[in-house]
Amino acid sequence: MQESTFKKKMPLEGIRVADFCWVQAGPWVGRYFANYGAEVIRIESARKVDWARNVPGGPETVNGKIQRGALFINFNCDKLGITLNLLHPKGVETAKKLVSVSDVVIDNFIAGYMDRVGLGYAELVKIKPDIIMLEMPVFGNSGPHSAFAGYGTGIQSAIGLNSISGMPNRRPGLNIALPDMGPNPTHATMALLAALHYRKRTGRGQYIELAQFESSLGWMETTILDYTVNKRIRKPQGNRLPFAAPHGVYKCQGEDRWCAIAIFTEPEWNAFGEAIGNPQWTKEERFANLSSRKENEDELDKLVEAWTANKSPWDVMKLLQARGVAAGVVETGEDLVLRDEQYKAREYYLELDHPDGRAYCENTIIGFSETPCVVRRPAPVMGQDNEFVFKKILGLSEEEVVHGYVDGAFE
């Protein structure tokens, strides 16, 4: 198809991003830009390979499916990939050339790293006065902990998420890295988009500091106000909420199978009763309103579970949803990939052809009525787009490129 036949653009077409990020929280920012139409150039170095490529050994393919390095492929689809050695003067010079033709620069190195290699904001703004630069130092660029670092698992402990999650009176444990997937990449993307909007209106760029610790604290809801105002130290509540009952996950037929149910209002409670055939207990005084259901929640949960226990979680979800009651299968990977009809219909994941085999990649999720986007190409293999970027975008000559390689500036 010819470009001119596209009536609508993708929302971020025409924006160029120099993406110096690595591991997870950072690359996902560039991924948002790339997926929705920006030209994102991911800068890597073979001298310190991104953990997400999981070296050594490079990508490992089993039965045609990429296994090792697959995280990198998921984090970096739709991007162009180049290699630059930022410890070589020519590598830095080339990076500056790239910045001079870019709109946005992002990195998630330890605080001060870009300054040390000569690519700090003070330097970049001389080359490109309206550049927008975002950095993600874990504890910020200032303060007593600025030299410290960490990863999502540690950050979620530091913000107190572990202290309010899980079953009551249990050891805190979370085997995820939520800040890397939730608050940090989304906040960073949001801040950059707002800064681009501001630049469009005023012509002015700016520097954005996203301290991952502070950014992640933004998702702690009223935990902080409840302490600063009421001096309450919130504790884990399991699956319960103070303003809903029944509210939890209930055992279903099958090994380790569960369905989540969430009932907030009286109409929802009545609909739940109807959906399960109005057994006598649903009419009892002790469950007549929210406060009495909260008071007798242990017994309530047992009765609900007696109903769910001999049904598949899918049947529970569908029976309750048919009456307008919020219920959802506690889905496994297998459920998502093979059984969830919505997942399939919306194509939440795509299989992509990659030079190293088949890759499984998250698709775009945000739906735009006029500028719809899907993931278009898999992540680059290391240095895949060096030629194109160095010559076509930066205008380097063949000789300059060869010298770059020989000098070790492009590795």
Binding site: P11, W51, I164, G166, M167, T222, N230, A326, I365
Partner: protein, 430 residues
């Protein structure tokens, strides 16, 4: 002032419940004029606790306050004909509407996107739902817990002997809200080029699949389901360990930084026999096995060439015993600073008190004091998620009272007469 606000001049109408209210907070704290459209009796979120000094009152909900900073409020009954006409008048001069109704509800009110766009072709409508505007589950009801369940994350959370156990602080709602804000701003950025606004569809299930990370992926490559495992994950013995005054999270011996930590332990007579030859190869493996440790690139070859950590169960238990004994001699702050200055990314397992008292946050002025004049009180709120040098994040005002800006907006901005306002009030349109 125009110069200081990233989203200056952007007007958003806020028709959100709990799943989307964080989206409009993000826009408001960056300077957009966000108008909360509440039913005449007030937003139901005003009844969600906790409450100011535990006094249950619609003007004292900390939940409502937290999520509605920097916004204005009007009351408007969208289920009356006149209320809808009034709403359409507001839409003429609106850039973004954010709503969390069930799919089809706006259509029932004759306020579908197609209709609204006729009034204002530049209008952006952001619709936040459990499962999206299309697809077989589109009419399913959802909540934060349902979002976590159906995106594959909940199944992996908690200990194997417990049921799947949710995260605190409505993470699924935050995730879909933040993505909705991204969608809103993307639509805004391209609006001039494409010459029109658009409808942005943001499902909670879909956006939350990102948080489940490896769950669908693990099944796709291996045919296996990721299970609940408490905190034992990745390749190292990374875990939460007890210390003198609480807990810390890190790999055993600091993983990749084990040698540095052993030096520290030895200097305090706490390294036991771990520096001897017996443990050298195992510690080398431990350093390589740390998920992001310095050893992970150089030392992993050893693990691949021959033995793996699991071949040394007794030795590992002993290492952990020595490590745990060392941790018990220090408090969280000492371990945090001591490990981090040695390049080991140990972190404290904080509760909210530790967070509010954190010296780093204090020195950086993270928390912000917001005045509540009616209470003659000033309350301490969480601060900026990001710091923009030209257009700083800012809580410009506390959350609005019910209909606090009715006069300001209906009378001064829309030019309604006092009499009309009084009549609309009497007829419970506003």
């Amino acid at each position: 002032m125009e110069q200081g606000k990233a989203l200056y001049g952007i007007r958003a109408l806020d028709l959100t419940g709990p799943s989307g209210v964080y989206c409009t907070k993000l826009l408001a704290d960056l300077g957009a004029d966000v108008i909360k459209v509440e039913p005449p009796e007030g937003d139901p979120m005003r009844y969600i606790g906790p409450f100011y000094h535990d006094d249950v009152h619609p003007e004292k909900s900390l939940y409502f306050w937290h999520f509605n900073t920097s916004k204005r409020s009007i009351t408007l009954n969208l289920e009356t004909g006149e209320g809808r006409e009034l709403f359409k008048k507001l839409v003429e001069d609106t850039d973004i509407i954010v709503e969390t109704f069930s799919p089809g509800y706006l259509d029932l009110l004759e306020l579908s996107y197609t209709r609204l766009k006729k009034i204002n072709p530049k209008l952006i409508l952001v619709s936040i739902t459990g499962f999206g505007q299309i697809g077989p589950y589109k009419d399913f009801k959802a909540s934060d817990l349902i979002g976590l369940a159906t995106s594959g994350i909940l199944y992996t959370l908690g200990f194997p002997e417990d049921p799947p156990t949710s995260l605190g602080a409505s993470q699924a709602y935050h995730m879909v809200s933040a993505n909705a804000a991204i969608g809103a701003l993307m639509a805004l950025l391209c609006r001039d080029e494409i010459g029109e606004g658009q409808w942005v569809d943001v499902p909670m299930q879909g956006t939350n699949i990102r948080m489940s990370e490896m769950v669908p992926f693990t099944f796709w490559i291996s045919g296996k389901n990721r299970k609940r495992s408490g905190l034992e994950f990745y390749r190292a013995r990374r875990d939460i360990f007890e210390c003198k005054d609480g807990r810390v999270v890190c790999s055993a011996l600091g993983g990749g930084g084990a040698e540095k930590m052993l030096e520290w332990m030895e200097s305090e007579g706490m390294a036991a026999d771990l520096r001897g030859e017996t443990y050298a190869p195992i510690i080398a493996l431990l350093m390589g096995a740390s998920p992001y440790g310095k050893g992970s690139q150089g030392k992993i070859n050893m693990a691949e060439a021959g033995k793996q950590l699991r071949d040394y169960p007794d030795e590992l238990d002993h290492i952990e015993e020595v490590w745990k004994a060392f941790l018990m001699t220090h408090n969280m702050e000492e371990l945090f600073v001591g490990a981090q200055t040695r390049g080991v990314r140990l972190m404290p397992v904080n509760n909210v008190k530790n967070v509010v008292e954190d010296i780093g946050l204090k020195e950086r002025g993270y928390f912000v004091d917001v005045e509540h004049p009616e209470l003659k009180d000033t309350l301490r709120y969480p601060g900026p998620p990001y710091r923009l040098s030209e257009t700083p994040w800012k809580i410009s005002r506390r959350a609005p009272l019910v209909g606090e800006h009715n006069t300001e907006i209906y009378e001064k901005e829309l030019g309604f007469s006092k009499e009309k306002l009084a009549r609309l009030r009497a007829e419970k349109v506003i």
